[in-house]
């Protein structure tokens, strides 16, 4: 690696330092004073802005021995001009559940990264991993050895189980309906093989949210969203509701009128809830956390099929299991997951997410293959197409004939 590069002039990038918001250019410039990779990164980025075309080449064989994920290959198409970013691979590190670090742990990672990489990080990538940006192929094994010696592991990339991620859960949030941190750790350990060795048609993401607020946006991003939920009645402390009203909260207009199912009423003294109408939107609980709590019987709803728009359009996940107890060793969940993976492995096309497969074969077929009974909660909207027939209908018709 060439240690010295000419000081790069970056008039276009400099524009991105203006304004009140944080600037990635400012951060790269700080590192560029110490690290030649960061300096050439600025140069190549400026060139891309000038040419209006990327100068990165993506993908390839790079990785560490035995692992199929965790490293994303990236090369410059102008290595002569920017020799220090000729290789600029990304490394994904499996983050701890809920992104809790000690400052010592972060220092250890940064020390390794300043020695072997650009010193630039992304805290965190959209899947949740701690991302180290920019190193060369010959540095991969030394980085991997040093990090694993300190107890870290690589995250997922490619056709694998991507690093599971979760909200802060019961560590910091009173609404958590199950231990998201424990489930995330458990699934990460249980499925190490599929996390590191690509065996799937495409990527698979688990995201664990402790309650329907869904702070990790699992409903929009995860192939399997595991969202905390409760059965039974919302717990109400009427005294605390009255205290909210006394302190200025307009319970009628701010709580009852904003309830999407209009399941609550307020007579100035008591808040009454028709719990069977509640769709667990969390509005009332978020607005009056001292007065309302999720019900006592808690678990999770399992939703399936969300994805971002990569090959086809974006998709939200839909309910597969309305309620499942979420307690170690999570056998019921794991049995379901493995059944789905078998189905996906058998029928999924190359680069087809589970949501796309379900869309292709139909939810009915999917449920039948998994031997799951259809439930009303699976219905997202009333049907608009009258040409949907049920098996019983055909059977009855057949019998009549």
């Amino acid at each position: 690696m060439a240690n010295e590069t000419k000081k790069t002039s970056t008039p276009l990038l400099d524009e991105l330092e203006k304004g009140k918001w944080p600037s990635f250019v400012k951060e790269i410039k700080k590192m560029a004073d110490k690290n030649p990779r960061a300096k050439d990164l600025l140069g190549q980025l400026e060139q891309s802005y000038k040419d209006k075309v990327t100068h990165w080449k993506h993908g390839g064989l790079v990785g560490v021995r035995g692992y199929g994920g965790g490293v994303i290959g990236r090369y410059s198409d102008s290595p002569d001009k920017f020799p220090n970013v000729a290789h600029f691979h990304t490394i994904r590190i499996n983050q701890p559940s809920g992104w809790f670090y000690t400052s010592k742990a972060l220092r250890e990672i940064c020390d390794v990264w300043e020695q072997h990489g650009s010193g630039l990080t992304n805290m965190h990538g959209s899947t949740g991993d701690l991302v180290l940006l920019g190193t060369s192929t010959d540095n991969l094994e030394p980085i991997f050895t040093k990090l694993t010696n300190k107890g870290w592991d690589l995250g997922g990339s490619g056709s694998v189980l991507r690093t599971p991620s979760c909200c802060a859960g019961p560590a910091r949030c009173e609404f958590a309906c199950y231990d998201t941190l424990d489930l995330t750790y458990d699934l990460t350990q249980a499925y190490q093989d599929v996390l590191h060795r690509p065996q799937f048609p495409y990527k698979w993401k688990f995201k664990m949210s402790g309650c329907p607020n869904d702070c990790v946006a699992s409903v929009a991003r995860a192939d399997m969203s595991i969202i905390g939920i409760w059965k039974g009645d919302i717990q109400v402390d009427q005294e605390a509701v009255r205290a909210y009203a006394k302190s200025g909260v307009d319970v009628q207009s701010e709580i009852c009128d904003l309830c999407p199912t209009k399941c609550m009423s307020w007579d100035g003294k008591d808040l009454k809830i028709v719990n069977k109408w509640c769709n667990k939107c969390m509005h009332c609980i978020n607005a009056m956390p001292k007065a309302l709590r999720p019900g006592k019987e808690r678990g999770a709803a399992i939703l399936i099929g969300a994805k971002a728009p990569i090959l086809q359009g974006a998709q939200m996940s839909s309910v597969l299991v309305p309620f499942m107890k979420m307690e170690p060793p999570y056998k019921e969940l794991k049995d379901l997951v493995e059944k789905i993976w078998d189905f996906w492995g058998e029928y999924g096309k190359n680069r087809e997410r589970i949501g796309e497969l379900i869309q292709r074969v139909g939810m009915g077929q999917f449920l039948e293959a998994l031997e799951i009974e259809p439930k009303p909660q699976m219905v997202a909207n009333p049907r608009t197409n009258p040409f949907i027939f049920y098996e019983e209908y055909f059977e009855e018709e057949g019998e009549q004939k």
Binding site: G69, G158, R197, K203
Partner: protein, 88 residues
């Protein structure tokens, strides 16, 4: 080393390696494609998903085969110098 399902592990590994080598540059093979092809070749009674998984794992761990990556998707390949990699 004999494999319980019938095909000796060495033979299975060599067949897998041959298949990946022959498809180099033509097809991005996934573990599933390889497994299906091997089961078809040797028959379900002699070759199982598990034995194919073990054979692929051994080939990867030994470095005879490697995982490739492009656009979020992975494949199994014979190690080679990448076209996108600059000359040193």
């Amino acid at each position: 080393m004999a494999d319980l399902s019938g095909v000796p592990m060495d033979e299975l590994q060599n067949e897998i390696f041959k298949m990946v080598q022959e498809d180099m540059g033509k097809k991005q093979l996934k573990a599933k494609d390889i497994t299906n092809a091997m089961i078809q070749k040797f028959g379900e009674d002699k070759c199982s998903k598990e034995s194919c998984k073990e054979a692929i794992r051994t080939l990867i761990d030994s470095g005879r085969l490697v995982y490739g990556y492009f656009g979020g998707s992975s494949s199994i390949q014979v190690p080679h110098k990448e076209g996108s990699e600059p000359d040193k």
